[in-house]
Amino acid sequence: MDYASSRAEEKKFYLLAALGALVSAIGIGAALYMEHHGHAVTGMNNQIVWGLPHVFAIFLVVAASGVLNVASIGSVFGKTVYKTRAKLAGLLCFAMLAAGLVVILLDLGRADRIMVAATHVNLTSVFGWNMILYPGMFAIVFVYLWTLMEKRMYPYSKPAGFAAFIWRLMLTTGTGSIFGFLVARQAYQSAVIAPMFIIMSFAWGLAVFMVVQKAMYLWNGMTLHPEIRNRLRKLLAVFVGAVFYFVAVYHLTNLYFAKQTAFEHFILVDGGIFPQLFWGGWLCVGTLAPLALFFLPGLKDMRGSVTLASLLIIVGAFCQLYVFIIGGEAFPLEIFPGRTATSTFFDGRIDQYAPSLPEILLGLGGIGIAFTMTVVGVRVLRFLPEDNIAKLQAAGALSD
């Protein structure tokens, strides 16, 4: 690379890093604004207590866990194609986990009491478990990345990868159980939510990975070998199908229970924005369109089809979380079954939620933080997945 192109590339890097830092700073500024004025400046209220920041935060945390799947397939199951990608997966996991936690913490009513949260842990609380699971995840991923990047540590990469594999399954079980253990509201209290979150993490994490990998390849003027692209495409399709299965089971079970039919009718039929996002956003855009791009003869070999499908999966993920979290809260608590309730506290009323600008900016700030950490990470260390095609072919690793 000559001096001029190196300078140009450096400029592009600083531009991207500055853009990411700006979005992050705006997000943090929005959080300070919320901190100063209280949550009165948000669209959240006493019924919809978790809003758009939680949609962003949970997406980031769940995708962070899932993106590490790429590394696990390499380190735990010994697949060379995935091993090459383990470092990038680790970096993305670290970045998204950090960003998700920042968003959750900055949305707290008393974000200044973070030390209280760190020093007072109630072990009957799923949030309390997460206070142990999240820092543990950082530590394990840090050690795992070390074993992948430091030659002397190579022999330890398999046990470290295995520890990360187990830990992230626990982590996402913990994230799903935040909802699964709630008896109060119709939308939650289901054991299927934890495994559903795990499979969602696989799909969303791999989708994010594919987009980032594509961007890095474009930057470096590289192309993904068709065999590897094919393999990742099929894996992502399996994950999308599995998410569909779990979501179908969740809703079909609810439809079978008489006490849940009113809620299902709300989410699937007459709940306004929620059925629209469910059918249009999650099912059509986030599930059927990617599957079409993966398998339809005219589309599957189209240039950029896997990246487009991955982006659609991410859009679908946000729709799905919006329906699950905000739709689940908007439906009134059924405190007196068989009776119509009215009160000044909006009992029996379907709640309306409109996210305010600070909430949107805080959520986007989280994406900005993950983006900046990734951009800086790939610039200063070697995270680019480089396949040695000749070696892979010789070992028969592309055809197994």
Binding site: E35, H37, G38, H39, A40, M44, N45, N46, Q47, V49, W50, L108, G109, R110, A111, R113, I114, V116, A117, H120, V121, N122, T124, S125, V126, F127, G128, N130, M131, I178, F181, L182, V183, A184, R185, E329, L333, I335, F336, G338, R339, T340, A341, T342, S343, T344, F345, F346, D347, D351
Partner: protein, 245 residues
Amino acid sequence: MNAPDNKRRALLATAGVGAAGLVVAPGIRLIEAATAADAPKTTLASSKVRWGMLVDTTKCKSDCNACVTACNKENSIVEEVADPRQRSQWVRKIDLVEQRTGKQHSLPMMCQHCTNPPCVDVCPTGASFKRADGLVLVDRHICIGCRYCMMACPYKARSFVHEPLTTQNPEMPRGVGCVESCTFCVQRIDRGLQPACTEACPEGAMLFGDLNDDNSAIAKRLKEVASTQVRAELKLDTGVRYQGI
């Protein structure tokens, strides 16, 4: 060269100790003073007591809001938040209509002070806690405002303070960014008084007392009349019971 340096160090050290003393000493004095002032009133909550309430919904009138007004006054719940959905309500009146028969009821709904409170289970810091006498309270010093308890409460009994407050009852501190709910007027019952809502009810529809004391009026009444726990299927063993629904 060394001598002046040493002097300067000694001076800085003295100044440092002095400043630390000035900062810490008033605190110690205040704590002593506060402890001394509180001493005669303080009684430890006992697990022999289980505070509870029985609401007779047949007496409760739909157009009466006396319990809510008394609660707001006692606990200084005055908020100017524009969105009514963001205002705190520790007790609220719910009007019910039976869908099949059209039969109407009206009742006050507040924290049910469960024996097995989901809010306490889910609280990450332990800020939501159950006192020995069954009161479910929030420690405002360690509540981080995550609102998980509000997701978990089956009675929608908790409120989040959405904006800074300017009026406070010194006995019932509240603050922006924390979650709060009915305390059964803990500041009153610890002095042997009734909760403000119970005292204010013009119909005498609310009966408060010790469920564990067989001779208390509430225990006697609960033996005589059929009472209901709201969402009994959750087996939370509520401290608040309703008659007539």
